[in-house]
Symmetry: C2
Subunit: 412 residues, 2 copies
Amino acid sequence: MPRLVMKFGGTSVANLDRIRRVGKRVGVEVAKGYEVIVVVSAMSGKTNELVGWVGDAGGALYDAREYDAVVSSGENVTAGLLAMVLQSNGIDARSWQGWQVPVQTTSAHSSARIEDIPTDNFDAKFAAGMKVAVVAGFQGVSPEGRITTLGRGGSDTTAVAFAAAFGAERCDIYTDVDGVYTTDPRVSSKARKLDRIAFEEMLELASLGAKVLQTRSVELAMRYKVKLRVLSSFEEQSDNAGTLVCDEEDIMESNVVAGVAFVRDEAKMTLISVADRPGVSAAIFGPLAEAGVNVDMIVQNIAEDGRTDMTFSLPVDQVERAEKAVRDAMAREEINFHDLIADKDVSKVSVVGIGMRSHAGVAAQMFAALSAEGINIKVITTSEIKISVLIDRKYMELAVQALHDVFELEKG
Amino acid sequence: MPRLVMKFGGTSVANLDRIRRVGKRVGVEVAKGYEVIVVVSAMSGKTNELVGWVGDAGGALYDAREYDAVVSSGENVTAGLLAMVLQSNGIDARSWQGWQVPVQTTSAHSSARIEDIPTDNFDAKFAAGMKVAVVAGFQGVSPEGRITTLGRGGSDTTAVAFAAAFGAERCDIYTDVDGVYTTDPRVSSKARKLDRIAFEEMLELASLGAKVLQTRSVELAMRYKVKLRVLSSFEEQSDNAGTLVCDEEDIMESNVVAGVAFVRDEAKMTLISVADRPGVSAAIFGPLAEAGVNVDMIVQNIAEDGRTDMTFSLPVDQVERAEKAVRDAMAREEINFHDLIADKDVSKVSVVGIGMRSHAGVAAQMFAALSAEGINIKVITTSEIKISVLIDRKYMELAVQALHDVFELEKG
């Protein structure tokens, strides 16, 4: 029988009424003849409650193994409840906790990676008549037999990993939005839902702040060619609802640009007139990484008289930490510099699309559109399928709307 | 090193402040040189929340395996949190869920019995420097690898089972009362805390409604000679605080009667003038058991003219169910009877004491005391160390006080 993986996030299982709706939705797929693996998150709010407690209990130097043992319990609750709901609908179902499958992971607690998912156990149960395996997402078990978790959003990754392991026809990610949009509808009223998007594009969008899917789950889906579908758990669904995240080849025609993404609260730091000698980059960015600063864009100006300006972007709430790390590093390494300045009022806006590979002039078109609106570009970085710029935060919405227009994203 | 088992119930771990107090208390025992196994319940309220959800999810014919998977999660949370608190106090501790030990149980979900607790794992960890193993109470794992629970109050049983398996010097049950009393202090102001009580007495008191310890945990402690101590988690403790539940031989001197117990909301049913022929008792009490009625006392009058009256007591909220079961059974078996009457306004009062074995006249003394207060006795049953009577509910407090006085329980 064909197999399907369905994943339901926290808001989709927030209470028993919603879990019953999930049960109905799963029943529809069972009726179509699928053997279904359902991956569930904790009821919304529950994980935060648990995280709050472990924060209080453990202090700064908490034991990540205990953290995982506590925080994973929310998913176990949902899995059991959904199995009961399915059973009361007459569907042969049972719940599985990570260690029962077992979902074998590394020992990197709180950010473990799935190493293996043995299939014999489920295969035997499906052969014996089980219709639905309900799996507690986000968790696994380490080689030492301790409970691990996969990090925030890890249930997406669990779902994709099961889809890969069991050769599922598709992995449906049910969430509180009805698909992936060309941009955030709250910023542009012209935002359009995409029917299909390539893995590579989704990866860029996910890492750029479109919070629909966890980045790692998309990477995994791309590697194992798992067809991912993002759709709403709050609407009646047809067979081609939502957005299909798939291989480039499966997308017949596409716009050059698939979407416009943004990160509102960024900051820009510039180290002015620093000695330009070998090792200076390492001397700056090594300590920043150690201080836990998530440096994103990095630009270095052409050196003049053996000195250069070094600019990088980072989340705005990490500026103080970054400033201290850089000044300490410069003093320790005896590297001379003129000034360190921070601009806390910038946003990042990006256009993403696999079409860029074959279409020249996308960057020029982007810069012209921003210029036409009088928006000054502060930093630019590009990849094969993405162009990102830093601009003043007050222009962010305007920039998104202008780019959405110029690349005609409202048209399918 | 000597070993100690400490068990903390739901109110003792109701929030993080209380869990920190528990951490301090455990630290005191570690400082004395004990290797400690701590058994914890779910934070108070949590198990009820989970039970409510599974009730909603599963309906009447719920799957007890899923019930157990859900309901056991509360203990896992407490175990992890306490381990973190202990670690932040500099104590080498870790948490263990039932399946990790593993606490091997029968497959009787929701009322499983512990079959075995392998000790190698803990022994190795203790030898390697671990000071405290925090165990999630109330749960285990079945031969099929499913999570089981031991029934309400099961954490007491977990604690005693660990104490037996590891040859612990003592099993301290921390609760919200400071020990076992001669009777409920809310009913008699003269109630006195007992320093020691025999297992047999505790068993009778536990099953008679003194809710300090789960009956099964006392049975287990008696069988494996585990010294049980009941004490308060809300008071500073000395070495001989609380009440020690121990072997008869360990109690030097004791009163003839150890305590007066009661069950307030009982009912009495009488089947009047039923045909007295072989099998009639089975015809009545079989169907009652099947209907889930907890019949307690049973009295049959002397038969006259081949007919007899049959009286039994039961919890007051099971009267309707019992009435239907009895009438159906009588009709099905074609057993003739005159009437079936129920008295819903009775209470059970009992005196318990191992001293009764060697002291005659306790029953006479009890009946005289009740008679002196004008209290009519409706049903009497006796065991080797217990005498129970059913009386009108309105006299319950009076009866308890009178019996407490006549057996001089206020004196040590």
